[in-house]
Symmetry: C2
Subunit: 249 residues, 2 copies
DNA sequence: CGACGTGTTGATTCCTGTCAATACTCGTGG
DNA sequence: CCACGAGTATTGACAGGAATCAACACGTCG
């Protein structure tokens, strides 16, 4: 695990051709606003496993995830860790008006982030409602997700937790690669330990419950990470969720 | 528990003399903006125990809590319930751009809310950065609180959960009635069951752990609700929090 | 090959949930 | 005035689910 320095890249691409252009914090910006964002942006890339920033560290940028997956987590003094957010492409990191990181941010996969220097970004959003409105919308979505996760952490059994996580990943996968139908297949982006940190479990319990879901035919496994969901409704049922596939927008 | 209709009140007071004027969503508004808010506002009051709105119901207003305490909670089909937010005076309820309630909202104490008709409010925030900026700030605070709660729900023991809740209530109490020093004294605004719903526990476990904290001298009790915290640092230690009273702003 | 990271499985412990009995407080009504 | 019931809270006995401790399997990389 050679902890190389993160790579800082100059202008990789212009905003117009950016893959997250229509979903990120800049989604509503017009070309003039984009031009101003271009002036304060730079790219950083991290390898899987690298720490982007530690909780409490000075943080003089905010950023969007361009590609890859990162996690937000909190750690108690004795080492207990709880993941409090999963950052997917287009998700936003950092808080305007705050100078230090509130959470540990870790690259789970190789990660590319589009960073904005904080000071100019803060000034820009004061004069650019398109950005603050989009940021508000994204923050409200995150708050909803956090609250749904609170229900999972506080009230669901280990089996339900695992099923819920698989359902969330499966859903995201379907929305990215619209499926012709048939079983949903994907690779788990998280290790058993990361799943445990996310779900408020131990890695042993995660492993056991994944095996149990496989044994019960809810999922199939090839290798440790490649998952096939044969019956999505069955999975939702096991997750304890409303089975009416609909979820709030 | 006579479930009377909530009382809808005409203009109770003008914004200028409102007790939450400087902390609520309207905190940054100038007199012109306040005047526009006045036109779309009305007050509603609820008795302790009343439901403000059920998850899924149509919700054609957003609101600020003026006085009293309300809770946000989610319920699974089999009845398991998790509280996902506590609404104190100046806190905001509802989401611009969403037509139905995402959570059950319940008045824990007698409650007074300052409601804004949603449609005009949505239009107003598009043209009033002062409001959307303040709303963003408040939403980010809520997100931080939700994430702190995720750590509690996922990783803390029952004893730590109780101590954490008491610490939060004690802190709020101190900030409202700055203490001359000496022990912190307050009344619990929640029943044991509500505490359990908040903490992801059963009411029996809550009762047992409260008794244990009392037995161990961390707190004293008079009656069921009146709590004395003799040593706040000790309480924080039991809560598993950093003992350096500082918490992020 | 051997070390290391990752994952699985088993044995056991123990914390919390579940079920149940009992107090206490507060209205209501005979 | 007291009986009664409802709501709230405490406590005990017991069961069960997840954590803990431990051994082992698998794949990769030097």
């Amino acid at each position: 695990m050679g902890l190389r320095e993160p790579v800082i890249l100059p202008h990789l691409q212009d905003c117009g051709s950016c893959t997250i252009r229509h979903r990120a914090v800049c989604a509503r910006c017009d070309s003039d606003e984009l031009a101003r964002l271009e002036q304060m942006k730079y790219y950083r890339s991290f390898e899987a496993g690298q720490t982007v920033i530690w909780s409490g560290d000075r943080m003089d940028f905010v950023a969007s995830v361009v590609s890859g997956i990162a996690t937000l987590s909190q750690t108690m003094e004795d080492g207990r860790r709880q993941m409090v957010g999963l950052l997917l492409p287009s998700d936003f990191v950092g808080r305007p008006g705050r100078s230090t990181a509130a959470y540990d941010v870790t690259a789970t996969t190789d990660l590319l982030m589009c960073c904005f220097r904080k000071k100019p970004f803060e000034e820009l959003i004061l004069s650019t409602p398109h950005i603050s409105q989009r940021l508000l919308e994204m923050t409200l979505d995150e708050l909803d997700a956090a609250r749904e996760w609170m229900l999972l952490l506080g009230r669901k059994t280990a089996r339900e937790k695992i099923a819920s996580l698989l359902a969330i990943i499966a859903r995201r996968d379907v929305s990215l690669n619209p499926r012709k139908s048939g079983p949903i297949v994907f690779d788990l982006p998280l290790t058993r330990e990361e799943m445990a940190d996310y779900l408020g479990l131990t890695l042993e319990t995660v492993s056991r419950q994944v095996s149990a879901l496989k044994r019960d035919g809810v999922i199939s496994l090839e290798g440790k990470r490649h998952v096939t969901v044969n019956d999505f409704d069955r999975l939702l049922e096991v997750a304890g969720d409303d089975s009416d596939g609909g979820y709030p927008v």
